[in-house]
């Protein structure tokens, strides 16, 4: 969606229904009321908070929500000064987005429950750096304040904090969990992300879009195609480029191919965490097989370099896609066979059923997205809500479960494997002819696009400048929204359940630590 010339509704009480874009402009003072009114009449999905703040100009904030029927809801805040009333008391999903904005831009949110040490860890960075605000170069790191102490949530005799991470004893991503407990059960979990914060949004600034797409792919290497696609679609929206039908269909097939591999890896991780090594290895073998097929037919095991602005960098050919579709059926069959046997395995079910509870009401409050949200009854699926690529032609039915426990998430991942296999076949059987790329003029303005990455709704907000460079890029990643739900999922469960619950959420750290 090109936001450059978007109509700005001044009246905050106008109903958002009907129009694809509803942009509400509000002042700092009326922001909480505006948001409260908008949330009361519609329950859209919170996606993120975009901040633009350079030099001496006042910060410009844009809260982004997504609704069904291709609707966007944007609340545009013109800020006077640097203090903004927090919307977190109304929209809990905005909690981390506001903490991020405070840490990186120095915008203070009045009434927010917890600000401070978040992305820039106190022990590594000086205070009040606001590195995203500074131009041309952000300040060097260094500072070394006192080590981080989590706020004390549990007030009980014998309470202590069990630290886990950031380095683990396997090939695992760096993240630190601080688990508050009095003994056997986790009473509160503090997730400390951003050990891997790479400053990618700052890095993309001043880059040409056709280079920045390479960075976007490497935000999360295991979901590279989704990230590249979301970025490319945001830039294409700016230039009003029409991607050729063949490229749209192939993009759909490859996005599903990536979802298939990612979900198989997640399922293997869930089974591994329950200690059943034989089914875990059977699933892991399928994952490696899919990686090899990716390299054979598409050139790269993780689909790097395939997305290009205006389509695809090259045409894999009909034969390759049909071969992938056939291989997908075979791989999907192996996965379903293993999963079917697992549903009769008591030692597996006991570890997942009624474990890691995220009831629908709580999941809605937390604003969980993707398979994790859908396992808690949230219907959000970008492929249905905002059909992109060829999803308007090849329709998807969202896979929804309502229990919100680990087993519901396992079933969602499993059913989505089957749905992806089916969709790849449908795409491969109906490949239009023609080119796979169209030139994309980089027009100054703002583009916004979303895709359903394997782990959920992923949106890119891109402002391009007059010289064809990126002035600001904001990555609204699903893992950033879903890690927020971990503390709820593990509350009151025993330590031994912790790795199992984390694996059922299927979250990437790199996705959040962009």
């Amino acid at each position: 969606m090109n936001l450059t010339d978007a109509p700005r509704g001044g009246a905050p009480d106008a109903p958002p229904g009907g129009q694809p874009l509803h942009m509400v402009t509000t002042s700092t003072a009326t922001l909480p009321d505006t948001v409260r009114r908008l949330m009361a009449e519609d329950r859209p999905l919170f996606i993120g908070l975009v901040v633009e703040h350079t030099g001496s100009r006042p910060p410009h904030l844009q809260y982004v929500w997504m609704g069904p029927e291709a609707r966007w809801l944007l609340v545009d805040v013109a800020v006077d000064g640097t203090v903004v009333p927090s919307i977190t008391p109304t929209v809990f999903a905005a909690d981390w987005a506001e903490r991020e904005a405070e840490d990186l831009f120095g915008v203070h949110f009045d009434g927010h429950p917890q600000l401070g040490d978040f992305i820039l860890h106190d022990e590594d960075w000086a205070e009040n750096l606001a590195p995203m605000k500074t131009r041309p170069e952000p300040p060097a790191h260094g500072g070394g304040r006192d080590p981080y102490e989590p706020p004390r949530i549990v007030q009980a005799p014998g309470r202590f904090v069990m630290p886990v991470g950031p380095v683990f004893s396997a090939a695992q991503e760096s993240v630190r969990f601080l688990l508050e407990t009095v003994g056997e059960e986790i009473m509160h979990a503090h997730v400390r992300l951003f050990y891997k914060y790479r400053g990618l949004e700052k890095l993309m600034e001043r880059q040409a879009p056709d280079r920045a797409v390479l960075v976007a792919e490497r935000v999360n290497g295991t979901q590279a195609f989704a990230h590249g696609l979301a970025f490319a679609q945001a830039v294409e929206a700016l230039g009003a480029a029409v991607v050729p039908p063949r490229a749209r269909t192939i993009r759909t097939a490859l996005a599903e191919w990536e979802r298939l591999r990612s979900h198989v890896a997640t399922l293997a991780g869930i089974v591994e965490s329950t200690g059943l090594s034989i089914p875990a290895n059977l699933l892991a073998a399928v994952e490696e097989h899919l990686l090899q097929l990716s390299a054979r037919y598409l050139g790269h095991r993780y689909l790097f370099g395939l997305v290009a602005l205006g389509g695809l960098s090259r045409d894999p050919g009909d034969d390759a896609l049909q071969a992938l579709a056939r291989a997908g059926v075979e791989a999907g069959g192996s996965v379903q066979a293993v999963c079917h046997r697992l549903t009769f395995d008591n030692s597996f079910l006991d570890r997942l059923e009624a474990v890691g509870m995220l009831p629908p009401a709580r999941a809605a409050t937390l604003g969980l997205v993707g398979p994790v949200g859908r396992a808690s009854g949230a219907p959000a699926d970008v492929r249905c809500w905002h059909p992109y690529a060829a999803y308007g032609k090849h329709l998807v039915t969202p896979v929804i479960e309502s229990e919100g426990d680990g087993y519901a998430r396992f079933r969602v991942f499993r059913r989505e494997v089957a749905a992806s296999v089916d969709l790849i076949q449908r795409c491969a059987a109906a490949l239009p002819a023609g080119p796979v790329q169209t030139p994309v003029p980089v027009v100054p303005g703002v583009g916004l696009a979303a895709v359903e990455a394997p782990s959920g709704a992923l949106a890119y907000w891109v402002r391009a400048g007059s010289a064809g460079q990126i002035d600001r890029c904001h990555i609204m990643a699903p893992a950033f929204l879903n890690w927020h739900g971990l503390a709820d999922a593990v509350r009151d469960f025993a330590f031994q359940d912790f790795p199992i619950i984390v694996s059922t959420l299927g979250l990437s750290v790199a996705d959040a630590d962009r």
């Binding site: 390479l214 034989i278 073998a285 994952e287 790097f304």
Partner: protein
């Protein structure tokens, strides 16, 4: 017990040593130094990371910077690609001979995008089955002989990496896995990144690639132990 029979019924998934052909897909391949004539239309700027350079009689490739974007793949550019996997290079001698039969490795994710870590997971998985070579992932740095570093070493992971290295007993070796760990890769210019493992700990073996395939990482571990392993017999396709 039912799972035991279920596992036995399935085929062997492990890549057999000494097969005549490398299964396609275990390596994504990489560009190789190619001879081009002066008339060939070749523009080194097609490489977004500057890994290609025109030399007198051809195109030279700087593997330490190549990120597999495939923009120089034929027919877009006259650069040949090769399907090998022996990408690792050692700057230090292997560990003493007593380490040949078994080593313990410690993996530190210092800002990886997930690609290199996923390849390491495949290496530990059923297809490459690292354990059959006597290579184990250590739960503690105190027992580790080899440190595998992935990622460009972010500011947040710098101390963890230093402390892990310091906690390992001598003799020890450090393997930098992936272009990011070599020199920061695409992230090198970021303010939150140190720009490669060698800025923080002494690196002995490097494996380029974005990400390097599992067999390339295995090759690096061979260089560390100095052992000639069975996969060496695997011919290239």
């Amino acid at each position: 017990m039912p799972w035991f029979w279920e596992g036995l019924k399935r085929d062997v998934h492990t890549l057999p040593p000494g097969v005549a052909r490398l299964p396609s897909g275990v390596t994504p391949g990489r560009p190789t130094t190619t001879a081009v004539t002066a008339e060939d239309p070749f523009d080194a700027d097609i490489c977004p990371v500057g890994a290609l350079a025109r030399r007198d009689a051809g195109v030279a490739v700087d593997f330490d910077h190549c990120i597999h974007c495939m923009r120089c793949q034929p027919p877009k550019a006259p650069v040949q690609w090769q399907n090998d996997y022996r990408w690792a290079e050692a700057a230090a001698p292997p560990l003493p001979p007593r380490f040949q039969r078994s080593i313990h490795v410690r993996i530190v994710d210092a800002g990886d995008c997930g690609g290199c870590l996923s390849e390491l997971r495949q290496l530990l998985g059923p297809v490459y089955s690292l354990h059959r070579y006597g290579i184990y992932v250590s739960p503690t740095p105190r027992d580790a002989d080899v440190l595998l570093v992935v990622g460009p070493v972010t500011v947040g992971m710098r101390v963890a990496l230093e402390e892990t290295y310091a906690a390992m007993p001598d003799p020890k070796r450090v393997v930098a896995v992936g272009v990011c760990a070599l020199n920061g890769g695409l992230f090198a210019d970021s303010f939150a990144v140190s720009g490669g493992a060698s800025r923080v700990v002494p690196v002995d073996v490097t494996v380029p690639g974005c990400p390097p395939p599992p067999l390339a990482i295995l090759h690096a571990l061979e260089l560390v132990t100095g052992a000639r392993r069975e996969t060496r017999e695997v011919a290239e396709s």
